[in-house]
Symmetry: C2
């Protein structure tokens, strides 16, 4: 295999497709699609998310101090992409345009997207400086999931969830077939 | 759709499978597999990665101030899982056990896994406090990619890369079929 050097890039594969929803008024919300972010802690559960400061949502996030992260199914790709293409300044009712219904969160003021199978209620812990990435560090306060996707009342079946995946070549994908199980596939290499 | 509340969780779908490699001696390295992390900035490219402080690699990361992040193909699942199951304290030559060759980085002291199709050279910018997730904030200084995966000398084809994906139900997956294109699929919802 011959390697080529591309310099510093953000070409991590795969990325989650995350719909960030923030309250923008009584019963209204804006949705912003991002792919830069991930889990960064477990106790308590925390995420880091890169949301540029110039977005329509930014001032509302500062005001509310919270937002929800909603994971779309692969068949919700049109809405997911739309919410990343069009600013809330152009379309202040993106949920309506996408045909989605917002529902109240349990703990925070920003609502969840009821149509998405998985939702996280997030409280902003800290906004990092631009020099340090300019990302939000958030604590996950609640998780909502489509009951039909739960295997034993707790575990979310990934293939049944059918999450929309983004890759840095600019395409959205479905999740593919299972190729192994965690803390199991590696047993093949254990010395006996 | 009836939703169930699971409380605070880390059930983000999907997650990347990241092989963190750090120099542990002349010509030797340890590999640690993680799934918690993601891109958090673009200028310069930055990642946040959760690496518990009690790992064999931790002291070496502190000493070197750098590590590489290596993205395995789906057929490298056994080695990827093994490096997450077994500590370097038990097996100080995980690369050898996995049948992988380490190669020098261009900028940093920690080597890349030559067998992985995609590698990032990362310099530690900051270690966040445990209360803030206890994760590493790193700058990506260089990207190495299998030349055969480049579409136009720059863009990495995601399906050709065939990255190993982890999901919080404990399974590894392949990347599935394309369902849309970014900044395009959303046009269907634009008002004309």
């Amino acid at each position: 295999m011959t390697k080529k050097q591309l310099g510093p890039t953000t070409h991590l594969f795969p990325m989650p497709t995350m719909l960030v929803a923030v309250k923008t008024g009584e019963g209204t919300a804006n949705i912003l699609t991002i792919a830069w972010g991930g889990i960064v802690g477990g106790e308590p559960p925390m995420m880091a998310l890169s949301i540029g400061g110039s977005h329509y949502s930014s001032a509302f996030i500062e005001e509310e101090g919270n937002f929800t992260v909603n994971i779309p199914r692969s068949d919700q790709v049109a809405g997911a992409d739309y919410c990343g293409m069009v600013s809330g300044r152009q379309d202040p009712d993106k949920p309506g345009t996408c045909g989605w219904t917002m529902a109240p969160s349990r703990v925070i003021s920003s609502p969840i997207i009821a149509d998405c199978p998985l939702n996280f209620e997030c409280r902003v812990i800290r906004k990092m400086d631009a020099a340090e990435g300019g990302f939000y560090l958030v604590e996950i306060l609640e998780t909502h999931v489509d009951e039909a996707l739960l295997a034993d009342g707790k575990l979310i079946d990934a293939l049944a969830l059918d999450p929309l995946i983004f890759t840095p070549d600019g395409y959205y994908h479905k999740l593919g077939e299972r190729v192994g199980r965690g803390w199991d596939a590696g047993n093949a290499l254990k010395r006996r």
